[in-house]
Symmetry: C2
Subunit: 347 residues, 2 copies
């Protein structure tokens, strides 16, 4: 019942501790016979190596850190608006870690902090993780990425193309915006409004570019009046929607850079007596709220859990082999079509 250490296993199996270590780590140079004897002792005693001791003795901690923005995360938690980014990230990364005997530690650091570097260093010193997952907007912080690179720590940047500076795992936001616009064009919409995301996030720019390029490509002019700023909050969505719907003629469809602003648009539309999907609405992120709104919103689903899962796998692989091979991986998004988009009603 008391603590079982590698030594107990070694004694029980009648081998040296190092041999037990070899077996536990799937190292070569152990006969089948000895391996089995050790395994039996491990089973019988219920031995599980101490992560702390492994870290101390070896060069691995079996720990991955996911670094998230403090303000965004806490605001989401507090607001209770149901943004499930964190959940999806945990879903992907934790399960990937578990599968390989790793643990994920989730850390919050304000992206705006003046002493960001110091804070991150403190986390690294305390935890000594085998790799770190950077989420937006941290993943865009090149100074941070480079600092981590100097420590020779494997890094995955989520949501951005890394282009050689660490691993990148992302979806194509530009193509997603194009797809959303094409969907609306196919439904016959000609005047399509766009609500921008917060400029703090690279994805916001990509989404705007996709919106523009889809229009241009299909022979439509870009009307700057149809592009209004937002910052991903509900409040900014209200302002943006009011501006768009006050135009004459108003757009018959709106693409919002995230769900919350789309939900705000739904709200404004209903206040103005406009029916959705006569006013068609598409959003980004596909968070739980868009399935519950009436009507449900057509939305671009980000592969968050998949990205996080790949991120964890890449880091574990890197720490296992001791070799980084930085590259980018693009994961597919999906347009979830729901009741908020419909063929244009001829006025």
């Amino acid at each position: 019942m008391a603590k079982v250490t590698i030594r107990h296993v070694a004694e029980a199996a009648g081998v040296a501790v190092k041999t037990v270590s070899r077996v536990m780590n799937d190292e070569p140079n152990v006969t089948r016979d000895v391996r089995e004897r050790v395994m039996r002792a491990v089973e019988a005693l219920g031995y599980v190596p101490s992560m702390a001791a492994r870290r101390m003795g070896g060069r691995r901690s079996y720990l991955l850190v996911a670094l998230n923005d403090r303000e965004n995360t806490i605001n989401n938690w507090r607001s209770g608006r149901g943004n499930d980014w964190i959940d999806q990230m945990l879903h992907g990364a934790m399960l990937a870690c578990e599968a390989q005997g790793y643990r994920l530690l989730f850390e919050l650091v304000s992206a705006e902090a003046k002493d960001l570097d110091r804070r991150v260093m403190a986390i690294l010193s305390a935890l000594q993780p085998d790799g770190i997952i950077l989420t937006p907007p941290h993943s865009q912080n090149l100074a941070l990425v480079e600092m981590l690179g100097r420590r020779n720590l494997p890094v995955v940047r989520m949501g951005v193309r890394a282009e050689g500076v660490a691993y990148g795992v992302y979806m194509n936001d530009r193509a997603a915006a194009e797809k959303a616009v094409e969907h609306l064009l196919e439904l016959g919409h000609q005047r399509i409004g766009f609500i921008e995301g917060s400029p703090r996030f690279e994805a916001s720019r990509q989404r705007l570019e996709g919106y523009k390029s889809a229009l241009t490509r299909s022979g439509h002019a870009i009307d700057d009046a149809l592009i209004v700023p937002g910052d991903f909050t509900f409040e900014s969505g209200v302002v943006a929607a009011e501006r768009l719907l006050a135009l004459s003629p108003p757009p018959t469809a709106i693409l919002a850079s995230n769900d919350e602003m789309a939900l705000a648009t739904l709200h404004v539309a209903s206040r103005l007596g406009l029916r959705v999907p006569e006013l068609s609405l598409v959003s980004f992120d596909d968070t739980p709220g868009v399935r519950l709104s009436v009507p449900g919103l057509t939305s671009i689903r980000q592969p968050i859990s998949e990205m996080a899962g790949r991120a964890a796998e890449l880091l574990i692989e890197a720490s296992r082999t001791g070799e980084h091979a930085p590259h980018d991986e693009e994961l597919p998004f999906r347009l979830e079509v729901r009741g908020s988009t419909a063929p244009r009603v001829q006025g």
Copy 2:
């Protein structure tokens, strides 16, 4: 830039390693002068103790584990229905840990697993946490609680009265149900339906009892036809709502044991041409979905982040002093009144 250890600090400050350790741990027997000298060296070098080494040397790991049910958690993640239990738990527990230099590690184990004990032991062996937070339904598993007690590990049971068997941090589900029923009675409703929660959770029983006692206390008879089973899923809510609304006369109000079943009821009502709040609806949990539905649902808010925060504080305190003082702490719920409840329309 390289790794800074306690030895570097000791050298820089011109003291013994042990003295640095004393300063870092706020131990007595260090003169102000020496303490300040050490602190300066710590600052200058950016020293942060390694958690792994602390665990190895001492008897604390500075790690807390939160044990959650695997199926529930993963199902919620997959469904994308926006249940924010995990988020709220992290919100409370992580921040409480952070404030004291602790880390929270989030672990998933199936409550149904035949080898539950072995799995939990494996987690303890690997992580050697200073305390463990049990969430429902794990928190109800007395065998598990006792096993942990034998290891002399501080345990907090969330969502149940522990009554001396470990710490308990919970809200009064019975009183909450009473309050919900009283709210409906005050609005003039006389026939109030009740949709039960999954019998796997103790809270379900408490909620049913509260429903009954509020009725009895106010002089109403209990009509068993008005009490229908459910298991917290949307699907079970649909079945339950259909049964209730097929009664003659049907109830004019329904209390559902969680949001998802209440949302299902809203769905069924709309299908049957019934208007909410003419049919009034109250739910438990106050997850994000109930704020987005039309109308928003009147709901009992559980103090999840507060409970998790207290849980972490209790464990840290226990591990710091080395003394458990098991007791229960009840935290207040709140009835959030929204558009789904209104005075009874006289038929």
